[in-house]
């Protein structure tokens, strides 16, 4: 059912309430968006690029007693190779395991043990390669308990276990977080997605230099302690994903949504790949990508660019520029045929989902798709009502688990129905609604509300320095940080003509993936 919205709708909705207080004058216009002479989304981000290629971005908030600090590295799932899926995420875990000065009680004693572990791992890899025809997985898929082995492999593994135990005596777990916490750090997190890895902390302004000390160390001197124990943490995280009924379905949808890009690989990766990770491979990723010229530092809070430049130079300035890391060269081919998935499940409510490939961040069409989501949802609701179908509508641009990509993405329209018999009618109503958008039949109030909702959500992001710093760093790794402002303005500039043009161009059958979730044993299944 269509809801009356915006000014007229709000007035109607509130009409039955007592009159508002006569003295209301509370709103003032001091917010950044309203300052004369500024662009609506002007963020006053200041940039400094050091001689070694390190990029520094500062958004000054004078008087703020805290600083949101983030370090973004331009690498992630896109840089993995088949058989090593999830290696970037795993590297993030390993980078919490300390350095030569943090995480050890005696590096002098530990270092030779680490060298022996690397040698033993070389022997293990040789043993695995030798036995490749004996231990290859046969018939058991994605099981972390896969245990085929040979005597030579076991000898090598036992040697590594013994060496790791000896090295663990010198371990000082938790040290990469401990000092942040001791000095008032909050919100310590790390995240790896397809296009970036980041570490972040929010610190008192007096202690921002601690971030530079720890992260400069983490970038250069990582020691991959508790390698096999941490491998099992990935297993735990993956099992957590798989406990959710929707995970296998959404991953299957992603798998047929694209052909060449690792963007469409499962976010939780394949447990069988976890067993393939080696210290040598992780070290290669680390040394290749964690270099100054592949790094962006973002600070928001009570610091200025002038203050940060010498501090950053003190801790990162001596690090030499490295060769440019290799990039993912996968280019998604132009879709040429509709693809369909039928997923049978009694745990998921019946649903139909239609996805279309859309451009990633940085393409001029991309901002309008954010608005499209707000316009399409009520249009689909009206279409369902006209068809007599009860359903819940969800619209998003999520691929795997995130909604923004500097590479091709998808726009997803989903209708969840109570009765599987309604699936065909729901799909028809959904596609009919998208056709009306392509014809320019766009509700003006829907369009205005969609833009207002996006603006309001953006204000919530700006109000949270950590969230804003993430957006800035993420846009830098996806495209350029400057694109963020263009993206926000592009959303505001979206008109009904833009929506119609994009719907007509992108929501076409050959660019479509349709997924249907049905009960495991319904009539359709039996046919």
């Amino acid at each position: 059912m269509k809801l009356p919205i915006l000014a007229a709708g709000l007035a109607a909705a509130l009409a039955t309430l007592p009159a508002p207080p006569a003295t209301t004058t509370a709103t003032v216009t001091r917010s950044a968006a309203a300052v004369e002479g500024q662009r609506p989304y002007d963020l006053d981000i200041r940039e400094h690029v050091f001689d070694n290629g390190l990029r520094l971005l500062v958004l000054e908030r004078p008087g703020d007693p805290r600083v949101a600090c983030k370090i973004f590295t331009d690498m992630g799932g896109l840089n993995e190779t088949p058989g090593q899926a999830g290696a970037a995420h795993y590297l993030e875990h390993l980078m919490f395991k300390g350095t030569e000065t943090l995480g050890t009680t005696n590096w002098t004693a530990e270092e030779p043990l680490r060298e022996q572990i690397d040698e033993a791992e070389g022997e293990l890899v040789a043993a695995l390669n030798e036995a490749r025809n004996q231990i290859v997985e046969r018939g058991v898929f994605h099981d972390y308990r896969h245990t085929d082995t040979t005597p030579r492999i076991e000898v090598a593994r036992e040697r590594i276990r013994q060496l790791e135990s000896a090295a663990a005596v010198h371990g000082d777990g938790g040290a990469m977080m401990r000092w942040y916490q001791a000095y008032g750090g909050t919100g310590l997190t790390a995240t790896t997605e397809q296009e970036y890895m980041k570490f972040d902390i929010n610190l008192p302004v007096e202690r921002v230099e601690l971030f530079l000390r720890v992260e400069a160390d983490r970038m250069q001197n990582g020691v991959f302690r508790e390698f096999d124990e941490e491998r099992m943490i990935l297993v735990e995280q993956r099992l957590g994903d798989l406990n959710r009924a929707a995970t296998p379905y959404t991953e299957q949808m992603a798998a047929i949504s694209g052909e060449s890009s690792p963007v469409y690989w499962p976010e939780g990766h394949y447990p069988t790949d976890f067993t393939q990770y080696t210290r040598a491979y992780q070290r290669q990723l680390y040394e290749r990508y964690f270099v100054v010229n592949n790094t962006t530092l973002v600070f928001i809070g009570g610091v200025s660019l002038e203050e940060m430049v010498p501090l950053v130079k003190r801790w990162f300035g001596s690090i030499e520029k490295s060769p440019e890391p290799p990039r993912s060269v996968a280019v998604e081919p132009v879709p040429i045929a509709e693809r369909r998935l039928v997923y049978r499940s009694d745990e998921l409510a019946p649903r139909v989902e239609v996805r279309h490939a859309i451009p990633g961040i940085g393409h001029p069409d991309r901002p309008a798709f954010d608005v499209m989501a707000g316009v399409a949802a009520p249009a689909i609701e009206r279409s369902l009502a006209a068809a007599g179908v009860e359903g819940e509508v969800n619209v998003n641009t999520r691929v795997i688990h995130t909604s923004r990509f500097g590479v091709p993405s998808t726009m997803n329209f989903e209708v969840v129905v109570a009765d599987a018999d309604d699936l065909q009618a729901a799909e028809g109503a959904l596609l009919a609604a998208l056709r009306t958008l392509g014809k320019g039949e766009i509700d003006a109030e829907d369009l205005q509300l969609a833009k207002k909702t996006l603006r309001t959500e953006w204000y919530r992001t700006v109000a949270d320095a950590d969230a804003l710093a993430f957006e800035i760093g993420h846009f830098q790794t996806m495209d350029r940080w400057e694109t963020l402002q263009d993206h926000l303005e592009g959303r505001d500039a979206t008109t009904d003509e833009t929506i119609a043009r994009l719907a007509a161009r992108y929501f076409v059958p050959e660019n479509r993936v349709v997924g249907t979730v049905r009960p495991a044993d319904d009539e359709e299944s039996r046919r």
Partner: protein
């Protein structure tokens, strides 16, 4: 930045090498690090003074004075009004000093708040929220209820009016939200039926039910189960509202992009004619103490098992609060450097999380729970290690370094979150005022945390942790959990009973 922090005694630009901080400035604790020989593998000029040797400056920030922020109306309503002009948003939060355990109707009242003001026709409230791009949330607890409405500042006039109507006269009669269930949600339980939603929350809910069986905390919710709701909810919600939701039992937290004088005038206009007698608030007793440790098992066909271990937490006097939180921070404070994390995750790779949650009650006891989960073959070892670490902190003093870190985290870290923006500041002060009528706790927090000693931590552990009478809820594939091979010293599941 007020002052640049002083770093080491050597300027890297002049060729200092790694890990060469001045020994004179460094405690014995980090001496081994200083003695570590620099490696030739990495950048020659990289300086890596140990963080404790960096001599980072003290934090100069102080919490804002609450008095100028407070608005006190003649009818007893208190509001904290904090201008925050960073973005054009306004947030209105009402903290109501009564919750679902105080009387029948608490849950129905929360449902009424979700439905909107009585003066609006059904559905109109949702339309109004949509049109304002608002965020709206109702969070009922046992002895308090929180309502939050956040809107763009262009809609503040309508929002204040809506919020006033909502608080004073909500649409009673709406069924409690989120209380329905379906057959597919049910899993078989060895200790009773269980609604399974696939998260740690279910195990904690089962733990609370066991700890508070027969108590008002659980009894009130059960009395308003879905089958009872249609007939009794309107009356009991109205009765609850009339009795408890009165100006003297509500504190408002108002923040955002406005002129504070104008907002104070608006709030006065919107709420000054609201009346009601200050209620006598019930006190909630401790539950029946468990005589022994008990294992409660619930079978679900999932890939992992969830564990919640704990017992009641009595009301914590102000004098003990800091020591309790420092102790929990060291034991299981939800970060990567806790004893539980190091024992179960870091060194063994058993779980993604193992943490302690001392949830303090107000006008009654709370719940102290430890929560973890993992693949079936490690669940018994997780229980074993969790109990072992609980016992260790009750018997061994914490180290100086653990104390140093915990004090800094709680005094300089957590405190900043209470005041991180206008909304947080207003809510922190409103909640404190509603509960205590003054601001002693926030104003003395930093000093209280820094006064905590190792002896005080030990005493807090002994006072608030009793592993011998904790309930252990295990939710997961029980056969796989029971039949898993022994990895270390863990026992059979039922052997953890006492």
């Amino acid at each position: 930045m007020r002052r640049p922090a002083r770093i080491s005694d050597r300027d890297p630009a002049r060729g200092a090498v790694r890990a060469t901080g001045p020994v004179a400035l460094v405690g014995a604790m980090i001496l081994p690090l200083i003695l570590a020989a620099p490696s030739a593998t990495f950048a020659q000029q990289q300086e890596l003074t140990h963080p404790r040797a960096m001599e980072l400056d003290d934090v100069a920030w102080k919490a804002p004075d609450p008095a100028p922020l407070r608005l006190q109306l003649d009818n007893g309503l208190t509001a904290y009004v904090v201008a925050d002009n960073l973005v054009p948003l306004v947030r209105l939060t009402a903290l109501i000093g009564a919750g679902d355990a105080d009387a029948p109707g608490g849950a129905a009242y929360a449902a009424a708040l979700r439905a909107g003001p009585a003066a609006m026709r059904p559905g109109r409230f949702e339309q109004a929220l949509t049109a304002m791009a608002a965020r709206y949330d109702v969070a009922p607890q046992h002895t308090e209820t929180r309502v939050t409405l956040e809107v763009p500042s262009e809609d503040v006039t309508a929002a204040v009016s809506l919020f006033s109507s909502l608080l004073r006269d909500p649409l009673t009669g709406a069924p409690p939200a989120g209380s329905g269930s379906s057959a597919s949600d049910e899993a078989t339980g060895e200790s009773g039926p269980v609604l399974y939603e696939g998260s740690m929350d279910v195990a904690v809910m089962l733990l609370e039910r066991a700890v508070y069986a027969g108590h008002s905390y659980v009894g009130a919710r059960d009395a308003e189960a879905p089958t009872d709701a249609p007939a009794s909810a309107p009356v009991s919600a109205r009765s609850f509202a009339n009795r408890f939701v009165v100006p003297a039992n509500v504190a408002l937290a108002v923040s955002g992009d406005f002129n504070p004088a104008a907002m104070r005038a608006d709030l006065t206009s919107a709420f000054a004619d609201w009346s009601g007698e200050a209620p006598a608030m019930p006190a909630h007793p401790l539950p029946q103490r468990a005589a022994r440790r008990e294992v409660l098992t619930y079978n679900v066909d999932k890939l992992q098992g969830w564990v919640a271990i704990g017992h009641e937490l009595p009301e914590v006097p102000t004098a003990n609060e800091a020591a309790l939180l420092v102790m929990n921070y060291i034991l299981g404070g939800g970060h990567f450097d806790t004893r539980l994390f190091l024992a179960t995750r870091d060194r063994r790779g058993l779980t993604n999380d193992d943490s302690g949650f001392p949830e303090q009650g107000f006008r009654g006891p709370g719940l102290y729970s430890f929560r973890t989960y993992g693949r079936p073959e490690v669940v018994r070892l997780l229980i074993h290690l969790t109990l072992q670490e609980i016992e260790r902190i009750r018997t061994e003093p914490v180290t100086e370094e653990e104390l140093f870190v915990a004090r800094g985290a709680l005094a300089d870290g957590d405190t900043s979150l209470w005041f991180r923006n206008g909304a947080a500041t207003a809510t922190t002060y409103a909640r404190e005022w509603l509960r205590y009528g003054d601001h002693t706790r926030t104003s003395t927090w930093w000093q209280r945390v820094h006064a905590v000693t190792a002896d005080a931590v030990l005493a807090a552990a002994q006072r608030y942790l009793d592993p011998e009478r904790m309930r252990i809820v295990v939710l997961g594939p029980l056969d796989a959990i029971r039949n898993a091979a022994t990895l270390e010293d863990e026992q059979a599941l039922e052997e953890y009973e006492r």
